[in-house]
Symmetry: C2
Subunit: 973 residues, 2 copies
């Protein structure tokens, strides 16, 4: 029986540790215990658990100083704080990026003290499971994701980003301008204006007006700012952005007005809530105008940004302004074939609205200074084509100390039943009148039309994440390690589950589908959190496998069909299916998945049990080998950019789709390592489940296992001969039979991938060649920022190698630190017993450890990025392409299963930690198959394992009997 996930269907009885929200003293006047409690319900609820050590060390970064009241330096950008937490020496809004930084001690990962000046822009609040950004002027926008099922949003630390429903290309709800100048502006546009009577002449923007404005009479804005800093760019007296698990909070203060804007997508909801609290701390009555606004995307993000000759005539809106709320509807193309619309509402009466961008902004203005905001007068504009927006304008009169709260809602409504009953789309079923059916929007609005309802939904979201993350929690004494394992690495794994590679600040959401390779690997990182959805994902992926065992390289999330535009021929693809199924079986023991009937190429009638898919995966590699007995590489293997059979000379041509001239010569040593590793996993699956669960007789299991292991032995032999270069593994043989990644080459002499994969597979571990290869990796590829993908980087284009040689030296696949494969090296180091280096490899790319180097690393210090500029680049250490990367899954596999050493197996939980010796005590809580294992590991010098008081031989905890809630484990090493 497949397992059920938290949050989907019925819940398991799991004890979770609720997280405690932080209370920044800076905001004590605004965010009182009472207020915060409304949202979280957990204030001061310190949870102490028996048998677990407390926080093992003081934070390396001290809490922010108390700047309550006025704090001039908050106005102005990145705070060059030293680790001691002193205020910044030189406040400045100037970005520090793009300055080439010498790669200091590039060959020595341990010389942190000699590095560049330490600059960070925020701090971790681990109790709240939040990263707290202290300035809008981060080196790049630092973002978070909202949404858990179908409605997703990206949100940056200045309110940037966009929302979509299921498909970031086809159901884009709000418009985002990638590559915009000014950058990251115009997404969630909130404006707070302190109003004053029109009697006096001009307002001094640097201070609040002297007299308290009357709430009656004509008013105009004396001072305007944004609670998220952007778009208005007005310097704030206080600013804080807290990225949490599926939510983001902005706290700001200006001229005695304090705001808290909380953005999240409630569970089971197709809407983003922007809850805004506004408090008057001025000591006098004030009138504050609040305008919230979004810009609509015309649904198809590609068309929206290209087909203007049509689109500028299609925009349509409706407005519903009542005495208690205003709802602004975006209904472009609803008249024709669409069955969905969106709306943006506020749960208070408005003094005006706008739906036409040109009217709202006025001529030449950006989102920083709209006409309507400058004048304080909405135009009640109706968009006919051009650029529809939604802007709701609320006027609040606040007594001294008074706080008011507004719920802005960005909602999406769909009528899937309209295919059968088109009349449901329309009010009174009257299509000709053209008034949309607003009932579902009203229902959605009503679910969140009070702050109390919003707080309840927020608490549900927090509980959902407490449960998800609670399945793996560790205390190691290194808070940076703990926060990555317990919070951010798992969180990023869930984001890759939700988003795949579709929508980030680098992935525009316009192109890529789900990758066969990507999705199988991502699964390794989230299978322990949502095993039921992982099972579904496996079956989706397997159905895009082709009958010969190969695979479509991508499939579309809406149709779940293979993407023929991209095609196939990436010869590593099929083996990743073995990896994900093996991981799923280890996590769940749910062998029923192997019997699931799954189509090939989504073709009806082609159904076979999943185990047959695995068989064809493995046999595809067995039967596609080249002159040296190594697996053929096909179009490419894991390294998309090593295109040994694609000889492109046309500018701009995609190497993923250019003609594949595979003549059966080009081979991959990397796939050789994969085949040894995953071929063996396939054999283990057969041996364990063949007879008991798959109705195979013993001899057919034995025959198949014997054949596969024989092929594994052959490939092993080939890898250790033709694949061995003397001091490391060769990368490949090209279409002319020449070595790639060998000392015989001038450039690209050594590649990381075969070293990691072959050693993970055990190749050379016995005879010392694995250690030799890893020493070469450290010597030739590793700098303080991580381990590069190859060296030396290619200075010229090599038509026989393909895309890899198109990149500038040191970037991306041409010598960048491609973070995805760094954990392979870390795992490999555990295989050869160098636990210190294994941890160092982990640490070098781990974002929490890079936090003090944010002016070099640039990207978010709480998530991995795909690529860090390599040691040969002009900008070593500079991160790019954060969030959507297989790095998340593989680093979690590395740290949880190999460094911390908690390895689920078919029938037990193996404990095999490989932490450096300075880690004397570890406490791990691991939820596995419904039982919570509370594991204490102590370094005593003697090996022993005690489970619930009973000594156990070896290092495997047997699976507890069904219904066991908790098992206490003590391991000494």
């Amino acid at each position: 029986m497949p397992p059920h996930d938290s949050g989907t269907g019925h819940r398991r009885a799991v004890r979770v540790r609720p997280c405690r929200p932080s209370l920044s003293s800076r905001f004590a006047s605004l965010y009182t215990t009472q207020y915060w409690k409304r949202f979280h319900g957990f204030v001061y609820t310190h949870v102490q658990r028996t048998g677990r050590p407390g926080a093992a060390s003081e934070p390396a970064i001290a809490a922010p100083d108390d700047h309550t009241g006025s704090s001039a330096s908050w106005n102005s950008g990145p705070q060059g704080r030293k680790p001691s937490g002193h205020p910044p020496a030189t406040p400045t809004l100037t970005a520090q990026r793009h300055r080439p930084v010498a790669c200091i001690d590039a060959r020595d990962g341990r010389t942190e003290q000699k590095g560049p000046p330490l600059v960070q822009y925020g701090h971790f609040d681990d109790d709240a499971r939040e990263y707290v950004i202290e300035t809008p002027a981060t080196p790049l926008p630092w973002i978070n994701y909202l949404g858990n099922e179908h409605f997703f949003s990206l949100i940056s630390n200045t309110g940037g980003g966009y929302s979509f429903y299921r498909d970031a290309k086809l159901r884009r709800i709000t418009r985002y301008r990638y590559n915009s100048v000014p950058e990251d502006s115009g997404s969630r546009n909130y404006y707070i204006s302190l109003m004053e009577p029109v009697t006096d002449n001009t307002a001094d923007d640097s201070s609040a007006p002297a007299e308290a404005p009357a709430s009656a009479g004509t008013l105009r804005p004396a001072l305007t700012w944004s609670p998220t800093f952007l778009p208005s760019k007005t310097p704030l007296d206080a600013y804080e952005c807290r990225h949490g698990m599926g939510y983001t909070v902005f706290r700001a203060a200006k001229a005695g007005i304090e705001t808290e804007l909380t953005a999240f997508v409630p569970l089971h909801t197709t809407a983003e809530i922007n809850h805004l609290a506004v408090k008057n701390t001025t000591g006098r009555e004030v009138v504050v105008d609040v305008t919230g606004s979004v810009e609509w995307c015309l649904w198809n993000a590609v068309d929206d940004s290209s087909n203007f000759q049509r689109n500028l005539s299609t925009g349509e809106v409706e407005v519903e302004q009542t005495e208690t709320s205003t709802m602004l509807y975006h209904k472009t193309e609803f008249k024709e074939r669409r069955d969905h619309y969106a709306f943006y509402s506020v749960n208070e009466p408005t003094v005006g609205f706008d739906t036409c961008r040109a009217d709202f902004l006025g001529k030449f203005n950006g989102w920083d200074t709209p006409d309507v905001i400058a004048s304080g007068e909405s135009k009640n504009s109706i968009a006919y084509g051009w650029y529809p927006i939604a802007a709701n304008h609320v006027r609040l009169t606040l007594q001294p100390g008074e706080e008011r709260m507004l719920v802005f809602l960005l909602g999406y409504v769909e009528f899937p039943e309209a295919a059968e009953h088109p009349e449901v789309k329309w009010q009174d079923g009257d299509a000709k009148a053209g008034i949309i059916n607003k009932q579902p929007a009203h229902e959605l609005f009503d679910r969140f039309n009070t702050s109390e309802k919003v707080f309840a939904a927020f608490r549900e979201l927090r509980a959902y994440w407490d449960e998800l993350l609670g399945g793996f929690q560790v205390t190691t004494g290194d808070e940076r390690l703990d926060r990555m394992v317990n919070i951010w690495n798992q969180y990023q794994c869930m984001v890759t589950f939700n988003l795949s590679r579709s929508a980030s600040y680098y992935e525009s959401g316009m192109g890529r589908g789900m990758g066969f390779r990507d999705s199988n690997q991502d699964l390794l990182g989230f299978v322990h959190m949502i095993p039921g959805r992982a099972r579904e994902r496996i079956l989706d992926i397997a159905a895009t496998q082709l009958p010969d065992g190969s695979a479509w390289h991508q499939y579309q999330p809406l149709t779940k069909k293979g993407n023929a535009d991209i095609g196939g021929g990436f010869n590593d693809d099929p083996l990743w299916l073995v990896a994900s199924v093996f991981a799923y079986l280890n996590e769940t023991g749910d062998a029923s998945v192997l019997r699931e009937s799954v189509q090939f190429d989504n073709a009806a009638g082609s159904e076979q049990p999943l185990i047959e898919h695995l068989r064809r995966s493995v046999h595809y590699t067995m039967t596609h080998r080249g002159p040296h007995g190594l697996p053929l590489i096909g179009r490419a293997d894991w390294n998309d950019c090593l295109n040994l059979n694609c000889f492109s000379t046309t500018p701009g041509e995609s190497f993923q789709t250019v003609e594949n001239n595979d003549t059966g010569v080009a081979e991959s040593v990397f796939i050789a390592g994969m085949f040894v590793l995953y071929g063996e996993q396939y054999c283990q699956i057969l041996e364990r489940y063949g007879a008991t669960d798959l109705n195979m007789d013993d001899s057919s299991v034995a025959d198949e296992v014997r054949d596969v292991r024989a092929a594994v032995a052959e490939v092993t032999e080939a890898a250790m001969t033709a694949g061995w270069d003397g001091d490391w593994f060769v990368r490949a043989y090209d279409a002319l039979g020449e070595k790639v990644g060998s000392h015989v080459n001038d450039e690209g002499q050594i590649y990381i991938e075969p070293q990691g994969m072959c050693v993970m597979a055990g190749l050379g571990v016995q005879d010392g060649r694995a250690a030799t290869a890893l020493a070469s990796v450290k010597e030739r590829l590793t700098c303080r920022w991580g381990t590069a993908i190859l060296a030396p980087a290619y200075t010229t284009y090599h038509v026989e190698l393909g895309e890899i040689s198109t990149y500038p030296v040191g970037y991306k696949e041409n010598g960048g630190i491609f973070c995805h494969n760094n954990p392979w090296i870390s795992i490999a180091e555990t295989k050869v017993g160098d636990d210190d280096e294994a941890f160092e490899v982990y640490r070098r790319t781990c974002p929490a450890y890079l936090e003090p180097y944010s002016d070099i690393h640039l990207t978010e210090p709480y998530v991995y990025c795909q690529m860090v500029a390599g040691p040969e680049s002009p900008t070593p250490g500079q991160g790019k392409n954060s969030w959507l990367t297989g790095t998340a899954a593989w680093t979690f596999v590395d740290v949880s299963q190999f460094l911390l050493g908690i390895q689920p197996t078919f029938d037990g939980l193996r404990l095999d930690p490989h932490m450096p010796s300075r880690f004397g005590q570890l406490h791990v809580e691991r939820l596995w198959r419904g039982t919570r294992y509370l594991i204490d590991i102590e370094r005593t010098g003697e090996r022993s394992l005690v489970v619930d008081g009973q000594p156990v031989d070896g290092n495997v905890i047997p699976q507890a009997p069904a219904g066991t809630e908790e098992v206490n484990v003590r391991l000494t090493i």
Copy 2:
């Protein structure tokens, strides 16, 4: 022998009337006669020709008032000038657009006086062949095109736009953000900073500093503005933008500094020149910093705006700063498969440069306030990935009255020989060193490294356009008519030749190829200017015809191959080939084109003479007729959006590519009209050239003509029975055999297209039904802004009609005024003899007549737009999609051949004017087959034709003997 064009190869001896540049008194202090003369060489060169009347009437809009010196109202936007030329009553920068305006007297085209307030934003300068825009705050960006062969630029009245080489998608040189906020900013970014010593504290932005700055010592900007207004947005003391023929000039003044920026692409050159003159009129020595900058596009415009995960790592530049110039090179992807780079240079020493956008702009800034400009200090940044730009920073010390001139050059360099000799790409042939070969860039730079060389190139460009436009010049007494015919309509026709539908402010340059239908129709408008290139175009188009006579709907300009992504099945397509060949034969008499061997579907071996292509076009229609004997419509006819065989229910699906379910039922009355018209033209071609030029024997000509005319008679009969609705022509029969565009329908009762095309073909002219149909058009479709495409507009989606019903009511094909087909109605009115209405139809959509209504019309008053919002829309009269529309060609055909009545025929020039009676005298100069015909037409009440003093019977001027330079003609009517 094919004719040769002006500008390509040897020139014909043609006398042209050079245009006189205007001298605005406002700029008299800056733009002295001497200065202007440098550029134009034509100052005060009034050319008087014998036998020709002078300008017949005073301009309706007076010349601008003299505001020399200071002119405060210039700072602030649209000038609500009355026709008398008074200064604006309410200067404001607020855009007026998007306000629904009631369609006043929608049914009466003549009630101009009752219309909305008159607002215009500039004036025509006909002598200079320029439109002079007097404020940056036009309702929309008003643009112009630069470039004549391969290098093209778009340029707006605030310097917006972008450049590309040949293909706007694949060779985009500079980046443009469509849909940007703020709009139209960040393209040509020029900053003028008045510098002052750092000694005093702050500068007052509203006035110049009190003391003259020293040229030595540390300086900082006291005041910064842009000579094009954008991007800096600093209010200017004076501003003027002159869009001319292939060039644009910006004149600005601020704080005593006067600038003139002239942008153009020289003939035979792959570069845009931005020539900047800066003059000090302050009376003291000043230091002025000038920074020019552009943002690079990473070549492929689609990829550039979507593939950030790759592109942000690829950007590469080189910098070459010498003591006399700085050249900033953009070489992204040059290392790999590209054989081209771009550069941006200035011909003076620079004090600094930048190539990294983030460094130049700083955090959160737009192009209005870059960090580098605010500080006055360039950072000499080098871009490694992210967003490469080019910014050149020059410091000028100007004595009182001194003027300096700078040449900024945006150049493109290609090495097509690199395919054979890759080493040519690199300095010293050394690819590994990676330094690009700059020799071609240096040569390009050297061609324009002095102002004198620039002036010479500019004069060449002016002469080129004088020659192109000189072939058709008219004097009618209506200056608005004259300027459209003599200048702007012909100019727009040339732009549609150059750009087809690829790149405008509505066409993003990312998608459409050359349309089969579009290109044939465009040719009707430019064949008289560039007959040689028209011939080449015909052969390109014909080669994409399919063997059965049908056609690919689009083809790609780089490959000239049919676009299989779009496909075919638009059943009007093939007949347009007859139209263009007929027009070409009329213009040139060059029957050799009919013998040219042309492939079908670009397939080698399929070559046939062009006449065979025409035959298959005509026979395709003959053999594809439906139940009523009317031609089958296929996927659609001219109206792309009337998709009678495509039943789409999927949102966002393209109706151009959705499955075509043609079952041989849906018929088009419009194509019936086309077949009668173009079938007859085909017969005339055969009769005139079959025996003499095509080696056909008389009987085969007679047989073919008889067959075709028989089919024409059948189709005529069908159109006048099944195609006649009682008061107008039916539009079509849908796939169920139901009428479309009939009184039996609730909506879409009458369509414009069959009325225009059938009457142009002569249907119903004899029996009065043509007049009835046209009366219905006037009654039911026409308002003061033009004639709508259909009425009543569709309020709901009709799956049986397709895209036409997807648009909001009154927009685009759903009841908009689709300008393309308005001239058909005008021509049709001449057929039934209503010359007044023929002219009114012409006038209603003619941009020059709409100039005073710019706050309603929004788009440029000097060019046609594709669509004007129709009478049923919320915004009647609002224009969209200006510039790239077949309207240009068809209105020129209408006004030149039918209203003015100068009709080239196979063997003579027919004179058949249909102007309203108030036009008593017309003078036309028509260059035809190498001879200039000087034609005076006078309304005397008696018909007579005198050619070079000799009376001629009838109204056809026989073709003059070869070598005849000039023929004088007098026609009385």
